[in-house]
């Protein structure tokens, strides 16, 4: 039997095509489509950061929204209250989220499975309670409205970008930040460190037995995932023109988890597909009915019972079946 030929689909530089297509939205699309694009990009980064825990390391974090929220607040406070530039506020947001992830994660990784999920949830609720009540710093239940856009006037020096609206320029900036972050996550997953995380997911006891310090690796994954969630949160605060305690409330953690699983946790691009699908569906459905949670619940049920591998898992399974059938036909 000869080895199966590489299917055509894998030779096309999909990543580049998707990036260029996404980049072209402000020029060929409407203001509304740019708005959707920004939201998808941010949610995609958030979901990919969660999947570093969920899919890669096998840790079910039910409080990932805490680090998203911390990123949003750090960036929002620095830019609004202290008038810092975005170039300082964004790394600070990632760093702030990482510090909290380090402290909280230190305790969380000591627990397993359901207890891990509950402690992450407890910490995220602590963060929520602080954001909700600490009026002087976070604005309490009023939140932190009117976070300024970053100063992106330098973009007008670049030919082609000079006539863009400020929201469009922010979209371009978001897309660049998100793509660089995704590339970084991808490198991390493919690195020896990432391979070790996968080994831990597959069998933590065996990994520990061959001398891997499982807790330290899990903590490192938790911190990395938290800091990328922080970047996503920082972008979202600016995009949404404000930071509010709702960002940190626990149903948001469930929402990003649904995105991730909808796309498929076994694939790097799964969460991205999930985020895009959910954002587009949300826009489509909320224009017909106010009962979006009901629809989301039904989607989740269908997903759990019919497509546990998510959208990308389903497509990959279908392609594999198709390839096998083609292979058989070629053999005959």
């Amino acid at each position: 039997m000869k080895p199966p030929a590489t299917p055509l689909a894998f030779r096309v530089p999909w990543t580049l095509i998707v990036f260029l297509a996404a980049l072209s939205v402000p020029w060929i699309g409407s203001r509304y489509e740019t708005f959707l694009g920004t939201q998808i990009a941010i949610d995609a980064l958030f979901a990919v950061s969660l999947n570093l825990l969920l899919g890669t390391t096998g840790l079910v974090s039910f409080g990932h929204v805490a680090y998203f929220g911390i990123g949003a607040y750090v960036c929002g406070i620095l830019m609004k209250t202290y008038g810092m530039p975005f170039a300082v506020a964004l790394p600070a947001a990632a760093l702030g989220a990482a510090v909290f992830a380090l402290v909280f994660g230190f305790f969380c990784v000591r627990l397993t499975r359901i207890y891990f999920a509950m402690l992450t949830l407890a910490f995220s609720q602590i963060v929520w309670a602080i954001c909700f009540k600490w009026n002087d710093v976070t604005g309490g239940d009023q939140g932190l409205p009117d976070v300024p856009y970053p100063d992106i006037s330098w973009m007008s020096a670049i030919p082609g970008l000079d006539h863009l609206r400020v929201a469009d320029r922010f979209y371009v900036l978001t897309l660049i930040v998100v793509c660089l972050s995704l590339a970084a996550v991808r490198r991390i997953i493919a690195s020896p460190f990432g391979r070790m995380l996968t080994a831990i997911r597959e069998n933590p006891e065996r990994a520990a037995f061959v001398g891997v310090d499982v807790r330290s690796y899990e903590l490192a994954a938790f911190v990395v995932a938290g800091s990328f969630a922080g970047i996503a949160g920082a972008l979202f605060g600016i995009f949404n023109r404000g930071v509010f305690a709702d960002y940190v409330y626990w149903p948001k953690s469930a929402e990003v988890m649904i995105m991730t699983i909808l796309g498929g946790i076994d694939y790097f691009w799964g969460p991205v597909v999930g985020a895009a699908t959910l954002v587009l569906l949300n826009q489509e459905i909320t224009s017909y009915t106010e009962y979006w949670p009901l629809v989301l619940g039904i989607i989740l049920l269908v997903l759990l019972f019919a497509f546990p591998g998510g959208i990308v898992g389903g497509i990959a399974g279908g392609l594999a079946r198709l390839n096998r059938r083609m292979g058989r036909r070629a053999d005959a």
């Binding site: 969920l54 079910v60 039910f62 305790f107 000591r110 627990l111 499975r113 359901i114 207890y115 999920a117 509950m118 402690l119 949830l121 407890a122 910490f123 609720q125 602590i126 309670a129 602080i130 909700f132 009540k133 626990w250 149903p251 469930a254 988890m257 649904i258 699983i261 009962y291 949670p293 009901l294 989301l296 619940g297 039904i298 989740l300 049920l301 759990l304 019972f305 546990p308």
Partner: protein
């Protein structure tokens, strides 16, 4: 100097909160103890119980005695709903990872929350106290509504009833056996599936009952499901998931910490209970009265 009667009033307030939460959280804890399912939808069952009670009161006209009819009908209605959910859906997820069970119950939260909105709207609804319990009594210088006193008695009464059921009856022994070793019990010829359905029905009944009983003191609004489930989670985590008496003491601690926390840190009392939950998870993840899993 704070008046002793004021402190006693705070204590009574905490006790009422505690006994209410205990009624709700005991169902959550039972299902986790036996089935190892963390049921986010428990708060939704509670909310549906409240709405059903209101609905029944509307149907039968608010005459004396009808409140109790509504409470019973609501609890039974929610128990039925729980049974259907378990039989048709949840049952197929037992073999899967916890994550999928968690997400399933979260899907129920979304669906039931919107269904309640679609049926009963978003305005606040309320049920008047049953005339028999509408008064108040003086107790060491603070007035306690009779209804709250009733709740304080009903909480422990149900605790003892369920505890007896779980320790003294054959069915109870089966349930405890299912919690310890499900496969062994099945191999011995017991119908484990039926035990699981039964547990879920009892748990839903308790949720519906507490939802119906809360209607005279709190207004029925969308969002009460998400709010209560967080509180119930804190209670069972403090006491120990799956431990019945742990849930009891967890509720007591929660009620008092919330009640007195308000005096010490007025705006951070909610923070103090989350912090307590986190500390307990760090030091003793299985709670004050629970036993470690496996």
């Amino acid at each position: 100097m704070i008046e002793p009667s004021f402190l006693f009033g705070q204590f009574l307030g905490g006790l009422t909160t505690a006994m209410f939460l205990f009624l709700i959280a005991s169902g959550l804890s039972l299902v986790f103890g036996v089935m190892r399912v963390l049921n986010f939808a428990h708060g939704s069952f509670y909310m549906i119980g409240a709405y059903l009670a209101w609905q029944v009161v509307q149907w039968v006209a608010p005459a004396p005695g009808n409140f109790w009819l509504a409470v019973v009908a609501a609890a039974l209605g929610v128990a039925l709903l729980g049974g259907v959910v378990e039989r048709l859906l949840l049952r197929h997820l037992y073999g899967r990872e916890e994550l999928y069970q968690l997400l399933f119950t979260y899907a129920l939260v979304l669906i039931l929350g919107d269904a309640a909105k679609a049926i009963w709207g978003t305005r606040q609804l309320s049920v008047s106290r049953p005339p028999l319990l509408s008064g108040g009594i003086e107790l060491l210088g603070s007035t306690l509504p009779t209804y709250n006193l009733f709740i304080m008695l009903v909480g422990p009464a149900i605790a003892i009833a369920v505890w007896l059921l779980l320790t003294r009856s054959t069915a109870g022994r089966m349930v405890r056996a299912a919690a310890l070793d499900r496969e062994m019990l099945g191999a011995l010829g017991a119908n484990v599936g039926a035990i699981y359905t039964g547990m879920f029905v009892v748990s839903s009944f308790l949720a519906g009952l507490s939802g119906a009983l809360v209607t005279p003191i709190e207004s029925i609004v969308p969002g009460m499901d998400v709010e209560i489930i967080v509180e119930a989670f804190i209670v069972v985590v403090i006491g120990g998931l799956g431990s019945f008496w742990g849930t009891f003491w967890g509720s007591m601690i929660y009620g008092q910490v919330l009640s007195f926390g308000i005096l010490i840190f007025p705006s951070f009392s909610i923070f103090s209970v989350f912090a307590l939950m986190a500390v307990i998870l760090i030091v003793r993840p299985w709670g004050l009265f629970g036993r470690p899993l496996r």
